[in-house]
Each structure stands twice: as C-alpha cells, then as structure tokens.
C-alpha cells in the first residue's frame, strides 16, 4: 500500500459540467500521474507532475487540466465533461527507481 487515496470512487455527471477528481498521497512522493483506462487500450497517461506546481501533458491530455499546489494532492479537472471522458481514472505515484503504484481508481460516467 503506497498510501494513495482517490476521491470520489464513483461519480455520475452530466455533459457540460465541470468535474474534479482528487488524488491524495501520504508518503511525500515527488512524482504523480493520472491515467485513464478504457477497453482495448490498457491505461493511457493524461497528465503527470514532477513536483509542486510542476506538471506536464501526457498522451491524452485534451479536455483535462491538473493542479498540484502541495506535494500530497494532485487534482484532475474536466472543465466541461463529455461522454468520451466516461472512463476509469487511476492516480499513480512513482518511487525512486521508477516503480509505480496505483490508487483504487475512480469510475466516472458522463451522461
């Protein structure tokens, strides 16, 4: 257990509404990531952070923004949710040698 908590665990939202997912870690890891999981695609990187206020885009960043104002929290925001953003979202941290550990996931449904 790498001390990663995602909230909420499940959410249903309407198209066009903003949504924020939270990832909280308790072990002061520098690197944090947001991935989405869709059938047939494995997991794909949305955004990542390499320190407080240091973030960058991943493979599928369109329609998403992130913020990291303190080490322990990494927020993923969907500014205006669309049905294509229905997915399972995973937060991850990376320890020193690069090994990644994942949170429990958030199932988001956009109707």
């Amino acid at each position: 257990d790498a001390g990663i908590t995602q909230s909420p665990r499940h959410k249903v939202t309407e198209t066009g509404t903003p949504v924020t997912l939270r990832c909280h870690q308790t072990e002061n890891h520098r690197y944090m990531y947001w991935y989405r999981q869709d059938p047939g695609h494995g997991l794909r990187l949305i955004h990542y952070s390499y320190g407080v206020k240091d973030t960058d885009k991943g493979e599928v960043s369109d329609g998403y923004s992130v913020s990291r104002s303190k080490t322990e929290d990494f927020l993923l925001t969907l500014e205006s949710a669309t049905s294509s953003q229905t997915s399972v979202y995973f937060c991850a941290i990376s320890v020193l040698q690069g090994e990644a550990f994942f949170g429990q996931g958030t199932r988001l449904t956009v109707v």
Partner: protein
C-alpha cells in the same frame, strides 16, 4: 512513442495449469513492470523487472532487454489468478516515470 504488445489477448486456463504471457516492446526501456488487475479493478504490482529474472511464489518474470521482450509465468494457476495482466514500460527516451501500457491479457482460471 514506444509500442507495447501483449499476447495472447485472452487466456482460459484450468486450475492447476501453467501459462506464459508475453510482452514485446519496440524500443529500449529503463523501466518495465507487470501488473495484475483483479476483478474488482485494483491494480496490483507483480514485478518491477527492467532486466533479468525474478520470482514471487507461483509467479516469475523474465525480461530480455536486448531482445525487447518480457515473459510472465504463472504456475499451478488458481482461480484467484483471474483478471487482466498488464505490462508497462518507460522508454529510454522518456523521463519522469511515464509508463506506456500494453492492452493486457485477460486470464480466466476455471475450477
């Protein structure tokens, strides 16, 4: 970016059987991990194995970095081994621990 291919896509096993899952990647890597996603969606770290061989109970993994593949062996399979197995890599050209996932191998172990 680096391409990751897993085979087979699906595998049905009788309890007690042995199996081999394969992960091919298109470029040199500095990080390779195997994960098991259980039926509840949780991603569990199996191995961090950018090269060499590791064993953990009934599971073992081998990565031949020079030939760009990794193998995951499941021996004496149990119903609890069911789920999806993912291989994920970080290419040498990448940084910050960003992982590229394969599409996974869905394993069903029948009693």
């Amino acid at each position: 970016g680096i391409q990751v291919e897993q085979s087979p896509p699906d595998l049905i096993l009788q309890e007690g059987a042995n199996s081999t899952l394969r992960c091919n990647f298109s470029d040199s890597v500095n990080n390779l991990q195997w994960f098991h996603q259980n039926p509840w969606g949780q991603l569990i770290n199996l191995f961090y194995i950018p090269s060499g061989t590791k064993q953990n109970g009934r599971l073992s993994a081998t990565t031949v970095a020079t030939e760009r593949y990794s193998l995951l062996y499941i021996s004496s399979s149990q119903t609890t081994d069911s789920g999806v197995y993912f291989c994920a890599v970080e290419g040498l050209a990448d940084s910050w621990g960003k992982l590229q996932f394969g599409a996974g191998t869905q394993v069903v172990v029948t009693p």
